[in-house]
């Protein structure tokens, strides 16, 4: 099930890693380097899934998510946070913000694509903003 996935990430090495992994498993990857680019690309290309970093210049992941959720044409697209959680409360903050899921950095390359495909299959998170276990 090859999918079109939008990857929003400002760090070039991480961008390369994640897009390499996704492409190695046959997905096609759209690349944006900050939230604003990500939003524009999402509106133009309507990807099947968005993977987004949180800390980014110009527009961070939280703000991009607000714009995406305010856009009716993007309502069905799941948005997954890929982030280097560090402090307690970070995960809760991400889920409360309305992301459909999160993957921690450093990612585990052996299982990463599997996790992404599971999110593709699950689609938008139906339940309220409670944190996943």
């Amino acid at each position: 099930m090859a999918a079109r996935i939008l990857l929003v990430e400002d760090n070039p090495a991480n961008l390369e890693l994640v897009s390499y992994l996704l492409e190695a498993y046959g997905h096609s990857v759209l690349i944006a380097e900050d939230g604003r680019q990500g939003l524009e690309l999402a509106r133009r290309e309507h990807p099947e899934l968005i993977l987004s970093d949180l800390r980014m210049p110009v527009m961070d992941g939280f703000e991009m998510l607000r714009h995406i959720r305010a856009d009716a044409t993007l309502n069905a697209v799941p948005v997954i946070a890929v982030t280097a959680f560090s402090m307690s409360g970070d995960q809760t903050r991400v889920m409360l913000a309305g992301f459909d899921g999160y993957i921690s950095k450093p990612i585990i390359p052996e299982t990463f694509v599997g996790e992404v495909e599971a999110y593709l299959k699950a689609g938008r998170r139906k339940a309220g903003p409670a944190a996943d276990p």
Binding site: A13, M87, K105
Partner: protein, 493 residues
Amino acid sequence: MAMDVCGLLLDEAPDAFVVQSPEGIVLHWSRSAESIFGYPADEVVGRDLLDLMVPADRAEEECGLRRDALESGFAAIESLRRCKDGSLVFVAISAKAVRDGQGRPQYLIVCMLDVTQLKVMRDAKLVDARYSKLLESMPDGIVLVNASGRIVFANSQAEAMFGYEAGHLRGLPVEMLLPERLRGGHVAHRSAYFGQLRTRAMGMGLELYGLRQDGSEFPVEIGLSPLETGEGTLVTSAIRDITERKRIERALHEKNVELAKANAAKDRFLASMSHELRTPLNAIIGFTGTLLMKLPGPLNEVQEKQLRRVQSSGQHLLELINDLLDIAKIEAGKIQLVIEPVDCRAVIEDVAATLRPAAEGKGLGFAIEVVDDELRLSTDRRAFSQILINLVQNAIKFTERGSVTIRLARRVEGELALVEVSVRDTGTGISGEDLQRLFAPFARITPRSGKFAEGTGLGLHLSQKLAGEMGGRITVASAPGVGSTFALVLPEG
């Protein structure tokens, strides 16, 4: 030149000279009355002094004076009157009734002499005689004030505090010791206090300031108490200069603000550092992984072996960062424990299920002993599990032959019921010297083989700190060559 005696007496006699109707309405108000009380004639004539100048608690006395004068022709009292500016003066009052042809009262002639200074001198004499030695011996500045608000006594501590020469405070209105902006309020406050005398302890009430003779201000604390003399009530003020205390309070407050700022900066630094350290690790561990997954192409044996080294070192670095961050959080008091009832047995079984393969992979026995099943424990599940994982991992790591056993039991120490989860191994054991520094950061013990064991060197340090946050501790008993028992002890309940 003929002398206008009547005019002179009316206008220039030192006594206030007032003519009233028998009902008490003022008909004439002399210029000397105006200069004593501050009210011009046009504000007084046609009114009753009871409504204007007689303090409420002196009204009855005033009525008595009028009645006596009307009945017997003459009466005199000493009393207090309020001036237009609110200040009180002691006056000697004499009143004489003037009758018409039929003997009916026609007028009351009232003379009032300002005896405030005389009263101050009388009160001063009385206080000096009875109390001066006692008041001089007090560590605080002591100022005694009579009902007119004049100072009748000040001890030398008070004189020094306010910068006056000996004896120079006597007779001054007490408001002279206050900054001007506080004086108006003080007169009202003082009158109210005289109306409702009670002891007020030091330090109660508002921020107060004293005014020195040279015009400088200083913060004070004041305690008030009434003193009955038989010649009227005096108010004793004990005054303390709290400049130094205020300075220390301010310094402490500034220090606190500074500390809070530094703490916030430290938190931001921790969060950033953690994020920034993980970001490059993501690429290191990630690309090592893609290479080892052979996504770009095949690897030869040496490449694969070296890449596994990179991978495990990357993972080690990640563990170090996680542990250091946890320790920093505990030390900054930032750890948030979620205390809830925890089923110890279930947590132990979860941990065992995760680590059993590692033990059995080394050929070790692995067992759980539940001695007391009915244990109640309220604690943070994650921290509890994290400590247990650390202890079991250590046991497996340092045991080459034999077994690792997790044991759950109740322990009683005096009045305290404790839950003890212990991990016993048959490993290398720890010498007395190593036991001493076992919980210090990076305190690796040296195995007999001479190789350093893997791990961050922070596990036990972190576990002990976490246990402390949870209200418990980790204990250890060990004998080299026999094995070790580490126990997490938490209060039951």
